[in-house]
Amino acid sequence: MPKSSLPTGTVTFLFTDIEGSTRLWEQHPRAMQAAIARHDTLLREAIEQNGGYVFKTVGDAFCAAFPTAPQALDASLAAQRALNSADWEATGPIKALMALHTGGAEVRDNDYFGLPLNRVARLLSTGYGGQVLLSLATQQLVRDHMPSGTDLKDLGEGGLKDLVKSEHVYQIVAPDLPTDFPPLKSLDTRYIEPDGRDGRDGVAVEVANPYKGLRAFQEADAADFFGREALTERLLERMAETGKLSSFLAVVGPSGSGKSSVVRAGLIPALRQGKFPGLPGSERWLIVEMLPGGHPFEELDAVLLSIAAKPPATLKDVLGEDERGLIRAAKRVLPRDESVELVLLIDQFEEVFTLVEDEPTRVRFLENLYSAVSDPRSRLRLVVTLRADFFDRPLLYPDPGELMRQRTAVVLPLAADELERAIVKPAKRVGVSLEHELIAAIIKDVGEQPGALPLLQYAMTELFEKRVDHTMTLAAYRESGGVLGALARRADELYEGLSEEEQEATRQLFLRLVTLGEGVEDTRRRVRLTELQALGGRKESLERVLDVFGKYRLLTFDRDPVTKGATVEVAHEALIRTWAKLREWLDASRSDLRVQRQLLTASGEWAEAGKDPSFLASGARLAQFEALREGADRPGGVALTTEERAYLQASVEERGRQEAAERERQEHELELARQSEKAQRSAASRLRVLVAAMGVFLAVAIALSGWAVNRSQAADDNAKQAQTAAATAVANFTNAEAQRLASEGNVLLQANREPEPIALLSIRSINTQYSPQGDAMLVAAANLEYPLRRFAGHTDLVYTVAFSPDGKYVLTASEDKTARLWEVQTGRELRQFTGHTESLNDATFSPDGRYVLTGSRDKTARLWDTQTGKEIRRFTGHTEEVHGVAFSPDGKWVLTASVDKTARLWDVQTGTQLRVFTHTESLWRAIFSPDGKYVLTGSDDHTARLWDA
């Protein structure tokens, strides 16, 4: 396969384009990512297997060159067949139109120039998806080489009127491909010059709005993406770096800073162009994108399958195996060609920490990612976008933490000139300009506002619609509320225009569309349409609300890649931040919502477990759910879905059954209790002890039980009901406490902290109440090492430790300017060696144990009597601090290593300096070989050196 050099001389060009791709991008932004990746793979395969060379791609359009025309014909047939038989799922069939033309063209910088290229482009613009058109020149060359069963159909001259030289156009006819298409489009009705005006006589035509509203820029929007050129360049540079973890890059910035956009519309198109010198061949890479969602492995499975040329039914088995699952799965879907790399973009990486509920799944997913980027043979590159306020989450996991520390690129706000480009250039591309004062006003409004970019895009989108004579005006801008007000104003307008019933549906809808931020900002939440439909309101109201807010792109719609069910999502978190009405609703219902989300999760698990009664709610939790249901139908309440209501009903019924059984048992106990008043009193005092012990937690529990009393008194005026409720509340508290202790331990474990508190917390947890989390911590603690003894007494850092030759004593040297002698058996401090005027860096025993040698920041080394603690000798001469000290094995010589770049040899008896060993940087240590013949030194100059003593 020719890949390295472009065919020259007379060449046949094949151009392709996807029909209606802009519309598809709008409707299925996520599914299109996968579909396009798949389309690219299929096309590339068809072209390269037939000897062609892809020399350019523009969005989803391919430009390829072939040495001979029959090869190009074969390639186009193969490509159409592959596209035709692929299963496209959510996007519906992806149809590409293709055109072939043959001629001579000039090659410059790995690209072609010349008239034949314009020809083939024009020819392409007259066709339809699924069609292959040939120029006369190509037809002449292939007509005698048609593959069996295929034929050429003469379409006449219709399509190419505006070309100087009018000629016939042909279409390939094959039995297994569609053959009937409408008449060719004539160019003059379709072709619009890039400046937004019709090509012929300046009549204005409908121009597409170049601003993107609230949605992030997609790859297909690259042409309208301005202001991030420098950042894109920087991201490319980071990707081109080499080193162990260089296949990973995290793009981190606050919400609305344009992380996703710069990756999708800046970085990815640049990779596809393959022009960045540090990343040669990137135009051949496969690029896929995913959101983690609650089930990241399933998402991963879906995107990997989307690029597989011959996809297996699933990759889940491979992915689920172990931490190398992703490496293996990628290997399976990637083509053999080693130069093809896979770029996996994980957008909204924070979902791994907010939506994935199962910790083992999260850990396994992170481990898979880490293995994939740290394996030197892996062909996978990982780019993630992460909201800045979640930056600390990956740091809690050692390996991903290391990735984040080393491989993060930060998205900063746009500089003024960049901002101006982002405002002005998209309009300019379609021939619309901005009033000068308007530009200044917008820049001032956006200014330092964090996360204002989506608001800006939204305001610009609205403003573009209100343009007058190709100009966007300051007046219209002020009227729409400016950058900061446009979005909220639009949301309010839409809301006000709805009926009362629809307004209530709007409130219920948006309350479901938010993930409550515990301590951080609220975020948006993807919701299945079926969940919204089950809320019980009128179907028509919901549909109208979705329609109205969707039309103005405040909501986006998609399909769940796993279940294929429709989903709804707030277009951008900016709406949650700036729409005052939504903030009011959220604040008013926050506590209800929290309970409702628990109910949602619980009812989902229950349904998944085949309505297993052990998944039903009980105790205080159930009481909370019931309160929520009672409030649901009141104004301001949070509506519940039919599934949630069914779960609640089943839980209440189960409680009834259990209470009946419990009452029977208690009847018996109460009888015994009545017989002994004393027993009752002690029970009461036990409860009081509990109350005292549990403090604030119990206040909650008691409040709940009191509430349970009020409720139950109506039905059954019996005090023991209250006791039951209190007991349940206490049980719930106990369980929560056990888990809290376990998780405190886990935090310490993850941070390599000292082992004792980890063990103590895990024991406390399991003794409070058994929980799987406490058990896991207990087992983890059992695998740690525990110290036998600690020698405590120094008042500052300990730098060095040494055993006496008989192993009975320990010597320590500390920043507190002392060395100390300890007894191993008892841990008792026996002696201090004081006299150094600065921190001690090192200390050691003489081989016979009679002397102690110390080295200090005060530039001296000193010899002490172990027994008396008295200083015997001082070795002076170093001009900087002494880091290391050592005795020769025969005890006659002393060696010192210093920051002054030398090690020095001294006579123990006289204290005279005998030799100097010199490095080019400071020394840390110097020691003797066991036979005393050599001296070994280690230095900041990165070397260790061996010398003859």
Binding site: A693, N752, L760, I763, L788, R790, F791, F803, R945
Partner: protein
């Protein structure tokens, strides 16, 4: 002068091996390295520390290397292979490091203002058996009857016999393909293995020598069991049959035909009269056969996916089966009726074992956990968490004190059945309780000792 060049950062620590032939260095490039003193050649790299290696030391026998690091850990390494053997959480940045003259203890000094003494070689409560290969999946497991060794099937063509307490390898039974089943004879003298090459093999447990092959199955992978009296060998295969063989002669005696999918597990009833098989790849049934006649007596129907294993209760009254349908089911062996389900696993359940007293069962699942069940109530008593892969093998030791698990993560682990034993072990290792500061920090209100006095 000789230079040792290779570190990409400053050299903080240096040490000679006790024989002087090699030199050890620790660097702020996060590695420690071993060099040949004479040639200056790099011999081993010790990679793993997350920060500067601030100090290095040799064990007195020169076989092990110890390192201290700014990452707050000290680590023990095999000097030859560079493999990390143990990790000591110092709790603060470590700078000082030395080994006692007898090689038993290590002393560290750090930013916590203390020197700390460690026993380098304390036996662990739950030895984690050595990892074999990188991708090596471990499957079925069996305890030797005396409990001193464990037998584990590996997918890299090997069955291992490991010392239960130390995790040391005793024998390695090599096969031409991956090993799917393992069993010990009741007297502990023989080991039986089933291999994907369609052959079951009998080995001498003492010498590790192969004694006999049982050939006849037409497809792998082979599951195996001994009859309680040790006279017969039972095998199950992907060829949908189970077969009975004479252990002495290797002659095939009977074939159990009827399963419509692979036979995923085989076992004898405690009295040796019956044979129990579990069916996979579309079969979904457990079947009971007469060992004498080969006649099918009963079917246990209900699982909605592959059945991965089925075992008898020790009294022979019950059958416990686990399946890819995520359920664990207890059946009446007499009637074939389902008695109880053990709810909890969230993914395929791969393995099951009864405790020898019949009170407990343990199951291993793809959900990364093994779970201990009260057979009477079906309640989950404990969850064994720690494996990073699905758990394909579980077994109780003969005294029911330990559970052994083996996993697709390439490791096998030993667990105390009673977690109180873990608590006791930890309390024996702990030299202190919470400090007052720690009690405040972790919101512990009482003053009670954490470990009983």
């Amino acid at each position: 002068m000789r230079q040792f060049i290779g570190h990409t950062g400053g050299v903080w620590g240096v040490a000679f091996s006790p024989d002087g032939k090699s030199v050890l260095t620790g660097s702020d490039d996060k590695t420690a390295r071993l060099w040949d003193t004479q040639t200056g050649k790099e011999l081993t790299q010790f990679i793993g520390h997350a920060s500067v290696v601030s100090n290095v030391a040799f064990s007195p026998d020169g076989k092990h290397v110890l390192t201290a690091s700014v990452d707050k850990t000290a680590r023990l390494w095999d000097a030859q292979t560079g493999q990390e053997l143990r990790r000591f959480n110092g709790g603060s940045i470590l700078r000082g490091l030395t080994v006692s003259p007898d090689g038993k203890y290590m002393l560290t000094g750090g930013y916590d203002k203390m020197a700390t003494l460690w026993d380098i070689w304390t036996p662990h409560v739950s030895p984690q058996f050595p990892e074999y290969g990188h991708m090596g999946e471990l499957g079925r497991v069996a305890f030797s009857p005396d409990g001193k060794s464990v037998l584990i099937a590996g997918d890299e063509h090997v069955a291992f016999l490991w010392d239960t307490q130390t995790g040391q390898e005793l024998h390695r039974f090599a096969h031409p393909d991956s090993v799917g089943g393992v069993a010990f004879s009741t007297d502990g003298k023989y080991v039986l293995t089933g291999c994907t090459d369609k052959v079951a093999r009998l080995w001498d447990a003492q010498t590790g020598q192969e004694i006999r092959q049982f050939t006849g199955h037409t497809d792998g992978k082979i599951r195996v069991a001994f009859s309680p009296d040790g006279k017969y060998v039972l095998t199950g295969s992907k060829d949908k049959t189970a077969r009975l063989w004479d252990a002495q002669t290797g002659k095939q005696l009977r074939t159990f035909v009827g399963h419509t999918g692979a036979v995923e597990s085989v076992t004898f009833s405690p009295d040796g009269k019956y044979v129990l098989t579990a069916g996979a790849s579309g079969d979904k049934t457990v079947r009971l056969w007469d060992a004498q006649t080969g006649k099918e007596l009963r079917r246990f129907i209900g699982h909605s996916d592959w059945v991965d294993a089925a075992v008898f209760s020790p009294d022979g009254k019950y059958v416990l089966s686990v399946s890819d349908d995520h359920t664990v089911r207890l059946w009446d062996a007499q009637t074939g009726n389902e008695v109880r389900r053990f709810p909890g696993h969230t993914d395929e359940v791969w393995s099951v074992a009864f405790s020898h007293d019949g009170r407990y069962a343990v199951t291993g699942s793809k959900d990364l956990t093994a779970r201990l069940w009260d057979v009477q109530t079906g309640k989950e008593l404990r969850r064994f968490t720690g494996h990073a892969g699905g758990i394909g093998g579980v077994a109780f030791s003969l005294d029911d004190r330990y559970v052994l698990t083996s996993s697709a993560d390439g490791t096998a682990r030993l667990w105390y059945v009673d977690y109180h034993e873990v608590v006791r072990y930890l309390c024996s290792r702990l030299q202190r309780d919470f400090t007052d500061d720690e009690r405040a920090q972790y919101n512990i209100k009482d003053k009670e000792p954490t470990c009983p006095k």
